[in-house]
């Protein structure tokens, strides 16, 4: 009997060695996924106001997850599937090829874009669509295609169709300056001003329905918190208590605002119910408590407090209102923002004489500095949780920059409006 067992085990061992060879892959390439965005064939008969394929290529390149092949390196410019020479694209090391055509209908005065995304390695068409729009909507269509391509390949919703809000400061004369509140596409293009003032403006924040912005303005002579409808520009004052009225932020259900008020003598954090105008004081400490932000489930807040002597990040349940200190590395940690899944926290961290955007893992407490620029501030997370927009100093000007949450991709947003600061990334807009 024992002999049989031994023999069987031995045979099984031989068999297992032969049949169950399993290679474990736990690491991947550090490089971005190669993709070729072939310039869309223009069949409209005239010049197109926007280079749609270029917008798409830039979108995907900026995400940090894709490496778009320059047009100059392409061996051919196919317009449809049967023109794709897979061997060529494979030799160029491309995993995906995006091709398309653009037509114009004089009767409807609309452009029609048809595109196809092709998997070079499996030689299969993985996405295809026909979209139409007027000339003004071509940028929007391009972002929509970028979103679709990003999502089908990565499984994560793209943020190229979202908006950003930011504040610029323009020096009009030596003693006169103008603060402006802008809303633009996520790539910084298509910007339009929705409010301006000669007095300071601060802390814009989007409502979760993407319809409103809240911010602080001094244009009435003292700090006050306002809510403004983005499309109609209709503005209403929410609070203008004596002293500080700052750092407003919408709750996840848009029913209330978090804000910092000093009406009771010291900067404390309050919730303000937008339906009843009722205030609920969350903190009560002689230190300064400010820059509060909601957790994704709306049950907690994180905020900056100098109650320990230096600005540090604290976490507090709305229910029991007992703060817990989260950051212990460095002398300055401020302006905290939760990740979309609530598993990480992003904030401004001071180290090596500079201010950087850092992340802390809420489970392990492990901290990672994401940016290498100096004087970084005001981090704002993209709605898909993949990118962080912040303001930083570049060539003595304040500009907007973006970094991926793993610190991989980094880029600056172009601006010709003087100092740009206080970015706020919108939610997904449908």
């Amino acid at each position: 009997m024992k002999f049989l067992i031994t023999l069987f085990s031995f045979l099984l061992f031989i068999q297992s060695v032969h049949a169950e060879l399993m290679i474990e892959i736990t690491k991947g390439s550090d490089s971005a996924l190669p993709i070729a965005i072939v310039p869309f064939a223009n069949k409209s008969g005239s010049a197109v106001p926007y280079d749609v394929s270029r917008i798409i290529a830039n979108d995907l390149q900026r995400s940090g997850d894709f490496d778009s092949l320059p047009t100059s390196k392409m061996l051919s410019l196919p317009e449809q599937y049967d023109q794709v020479h897979f061997r060529d694209w494979r030799l160029l090391g491309q995993n995906y090829v995006l091709i398309g055509q653009l037509k114009y209908s004089a009767s409807s005065k609309k452009y029609e874009i048809s595109y196809e995304l092709i998997d070079v390695l499996s030689q299969q068409r993985v996405l295809g669509e026909v979209l139409s729009s007027g000339s003004k909507g071509l940028r929007k269509l391009a972002h929509k295609i970028s979103d679709a391509v990003y999502e089908i390949i990565t499984g994560v919703r793209g943020v190229f169709s979202t908006k950003i809000a930011y504040i610029t400061l323009k020096q009009l004369t030596k003693n006169k300056q103008e603060y402006r509140l802008f809303v633009s596409d996520a790539d910084g293009q298509n910007a339009h001003m929705i409010f301006k003032s000669h007095e300071p403006m601060l802390s814009p924040s989007w409502s979760n329905d993407g319809q409103h912005l809240t911010y602080v303005s001094f244009h009435s002579g003292r700090p006050a918190i306002y809510i403004q409808h983005v499309k109609s520009s209709h503005q209403r004052k929410v609070t203008s208590f004596k002293g500080l009225n700052s750092a407003p932020m919408w709750s996840p259900d848009d029913a209330s605002l978090l804000m910092t008020l000093s009406k009771d003598g010291n900067a404390e954090i309050y919730t303000y119910d937008l339906a009843t105008n009722a205030l609920d004081r969350l903190t009560n400490h002689y230190g300064i408590d400010t820059e509060a932000s909601w957790s994704p489930d709306g049950k907690e807040v994180v905020f900056t407090s100098d109650r320990s002597g230096r600005p540090q990040v604290y976490r507090m349940s709305i229910k029991d209102k007992v703060p817990t200190r989260l950051t212990f590395v460095g002398k300055y940690n401020a302006r905290p923002r939760f990740s979309r899944d609530g598993e990480s926290l992003y904030y401004v961290h001071q180290s090596n004489g500079g201010f950087h955007i850092a992340a802390i893992d809420m489970k392990t407490g492990e901290q990672q500095v994401l940016t290498s620029t100096s004087l970084d501030e005001s981090p704002s997370l993209s709605p898909n949780g993949r990118m962080i927009m912040y303001s930083t100093l570049r060539e003595n000007r304040s500009v907007l920059a973006v970094v991926s949450v793993d610190g991989g991709a980094k880029y600056f947003l172009p601006s010709d409006s003087g100092d740009v600061r206080e970015p706020a990334w919108s939610p997904f807009l449908n």
């Binding site: 399993m22 474990e24 690491k27 997850d65 499984g155 994560v156």
Partner: protein, 319 residues
């Protein structure tokens, strides 16, 4: 009609009633009623006659033949009157005393009768109680007797049962002992056989182990050589795949297993997902990584290729 009847005399009414009664009687067939009726009428007439005599007595005033008178004075008259009144009073008192005496006598008699009746009743009750007590005692005596009989009967039955039980237990014990003896004998037999078999088995095992050991030693030498070669190629393949794998964002915790079939030249023959992650983009990224390798590094030795690299699996799970 009623008014006429009211005007008739009492005698006429009675006669009319009588005539009606007679008519009714003569109409009946039963003569007993006739006789009874006649008798009843005689009685009624007699009563009628008596009634007349008593209701209207005839007063006859005797005619005085002569009158003797004596002249008395007023005092004497007064004395006579008083005397008569005294006599009358005396008579009344005597009558009253007599009546009172009779009343007392009657009451005494009534009381005596009542007492007699009470005593009689008491005596009757006593007698009844006595009888009931006697009856109860009798019933109790009978019940006790019955109980004693039952107890005796039960004791007798119990003794009988115990006797039978003891007898049965003795019988069972005997059977058990006999069976135990048979079993013991069988066990001994089996043990003996087992020991013999074990000895044979041990001999066989020792021989088999010796053979297996020899075989294993040879195989291990061969495997060691193969495994080192296999490891080398596995490492090369892993490196190529890692260079090609672009892990999608938010893939932590996902895992996909692919089955890969190669040609002896190292070219990919086929790749298929055998255990999906549930996230299409992640599975697609792993498949693309495999397809992205133009030529897999494989051993030239055909037997090793066939054994290890013709068909193998690959698990993609970012750490």
């Amino acid at each position: 009609m009623k008014k006429i009847n009211a005007n008739k005399t009492k005698g006429q009414t009675k006669i009319a009633l009588l005539l009606d009664a007679l008519k009714a009687i003569f109409k009946t067939k039963d003569k007993r009623f006739l006789i009874a009726s006649v008798l009843l009428h005689i009685v009624l007439f007699s009563l009628l006659l008596v009634s007349w005599q008593s209701s209207e007595p005839v007063k006859i005033s005797p005619m005085p033949n002569s009158v003797q008178a004596r002249v008395i004075s007023l005092d004497e008259l007064q004395a006579l009157r008083e005397k008569r009144e005294a006599e009358q009073k005396k008579q009344i008192d005597e009558k009253k005393a007599l009546k009172k005496k009779q009343e007392l006598k009657r009451k005494k008699e009534l009381k005596r009768k009542k007492e007699l009746k009470r005593k009689k009743e008491l005596k009757r009750k006593e007698l009844k109680k006595k009888k009931a007590r006697e009856k109860k005692q009798e019933a109790k005596r009978k019940a006790d007797e019955q109980k004693k009989i039952q107890v005796k009967k039960k004791q007798r039955e119990k003794r009988l049962k115990e006797k039978q039980k003891k007898k049965e237990a003795e019988r069972q014990e005997k059977i058990k002992q006999e069976e135990e003896q048979v079993k013991r004998k069988k066990r001994e037999q089996r043990l003996l056989e087992k020991m013999q078999q074990a000895e044979l088995e041990l001999e066989r095992q020792l021989e088999a182990e010796r053979v297996a050991k020899e075989l294993s030693r040879q195989q291990e030498l061969m495997l060691a050589k193969e495994l080192s070669e296999t490891e080398r190629f596995l490492s090369l393949i892993r490196s190529r795949i890692e260079n090609q794998w672009h892990i999608p964002p938010k893939s932590n915790g996902l895992s996909v297993v692919l089955q890969i079939k190669l040609l002896p030249t190292g070219e990919l023959s086929s790749v298929r997902i055998i255990q999906a992650s549930g996230v299409k983009a992640f599975d697609q990224s792993a498949e693309s990584a495999v397809r992205g390798v133009r030529k897999f590094p494989v051993p030239d030795e055909r037997s090793l290729f066939e054994k290890q690299f013709r068909l193998f699996s690959m698990r993609f799970a970012p750490s």
